[in-house]
Amino acid sequence: MGNVEIIGHFGPYGGRFVPEALIGALDELEEAHNSAIHDSAFQSELRNLHLTYTGRPSIITEVKRFAEHAGDARILLKREDLNHTGSHKINNVLGQALLTRRMGKNRIIAETGAGQHGVASATAAALFGLECVVYMGEEDIRRQALNVARMKLLGAEVVPVRTGSRTLKDAINEAMRDWVTNVESTHYLLGTVAGPHPFPTMVRDFQKIIGEEAREQLLELVGRLPDAVLACVGGGSNAIGIFHAFIPDTSVRLIGLEAGGDGIETGRHAATITGGSVGVLHGTRSYVLQDSNGQTIESHSISAGLDYPGVGPEHAYLHDIGRAEYRAINDDEAMEAFSLLSRTEGIIPAIESAHALAGAIRVGKELGPDAILLVNLSGRGDKDVETAADYFKIEL
């Protein structure tokens, strides 16, 4: 217990703010994760799954035609969009599914916003023969119909959440309620680096493979470290995943792109670090969008996967110590980058990842042609076709 206070924190952030009913399950999970890290059989099983199922290592693609619009900087994409199920989410899900089995549980629950984590969870549940229930806000179900269908085809139950803003935040509330009730049989397969300890640390450990691979790939491809690493930040798992290996490389700027929605000044955004304040949400202390009474303010973004009023505690810490910088990208800027990558490179990105691409356009212009930028292309855009068609007024 005593060491949780040190281990589970990132400076003043992180920790555990949860009902006492969950403490046993969190301790059990922490123990399973700690022992798995040092268990070569576990590690080799996970490595093998990534090799033969996920499709790792994911490749690096240099995007020269896109870069012409970004100050002619060299821009290299880490292609997490090519993973099985279409995003980085599978990295974490396979790790936690193995832990679920290790703990002897037979049911997983998950929250999902864009549906990417829900699809990945449903996939792992099918692969491991686990029962799977995915909580999803009613508003997100409408925005991400394709992913809802995928989850159902994979055998998962999708439960619409009709409380609050009917998006990711409320799906997490509902998943927590399920977990409190069914904790003995059930593992809560949280999809991001938020939530109570050990989730922020554990999910990062399963995602850091992105940066480890990319760092090696870049050294081989271009012979040096990049000037900046860019990733979109909702809860922050793909960003921590690609940042982590570069944290000791102080010459490398780490830049997180938050969802600016209609613009920070309008109040309709999901840029938690840029436009929020310190608070506690979903079991962890971090930056939060909240009012003067500590009530969570609803976030807004065209991207369902970034539409979350909290952010992982490690990002809050990296921000405070100045190791990472966070900027906001508005809906329009993200959609412009979405369209640009599609038309110049033949790659349709997830709208989430388009925020990172928009950041690369800005930073490329700032740094110029000598700069090398590594961008995490965290997901593919198939799921966003309807939203994009609607935005660009394309008739389907």
Binding site: A21, N173, V180, L281, G283
Partner: protein
Amino acid sequence: MRTPLEELFVKVRNENRAALIAYLPAGFPTLQKCKDAIATLAAAGVDAIEIGFPYSDPVMDGATIQEAADISLKGGTGAVEVLETLKFAHEVGLPAVVMTYWNPIERYGVDAFAKAIVHNGGSGVITPDLTIEESSQWKRSTTEAGLNTIYVLAPSSTQDRIAAVSAECSGFVYAASLMGVTGARATISAGARELVSRIRATSNLPISVGLGVSTRDQARNVAGFADGVIVGSAFIKALLDAKSYEEGLAEISSLARQLAAGVREGR
């Protein structure tokens, strides 16, 4: 010096019965109607009240309290209204505590919140999502203010955990009767009795049982082994289901009388 809540538990021990503790979110259904409901409950034999601080993300609460919190938040309830309601409860003579998720306290200012509770006649605060590991500042502030700190234990809590958490409690220890969220249940699980006896093995504090209690029979049953019986969702549901406001008050008055009889029949 004892808080009014501590005085209450001395009194009910002397009367060889359990205390009946009601829960209502401040500002539900409105600021004034909530006060009327509190006065009604006091007149009908409720011994103490928990004033809920409605919160946007209540992960410990079932559908009934969520709905009440939504109504209250839409009405604009914040810290000011919570404290005003607390003061009212104190003035009608009920030992009163605030039950709140942690973030509103942190947002208000931990020290300032503890002082404001005392200033408005509150005996203590129940914090369902504050773990003892995160409570060092809260402990300093509440000790200085002379407030009871009430934490919630669950059937899944280990014996070590029960000892550590109940050592941080004062006023009473809150025992959750089951694994789950708030809301009326058809039966009270056997886990409640077992949890209470596991807490008794390590703590001399009064123990109150909450989650799922809604009937006289259940109150009688729980009063057989606990020092306090907490009822929340059943009162709220009666108010939500009533055809009129007056009917709602009559319903909760009658329910409170039933439950007050129940807590006197258990031993």
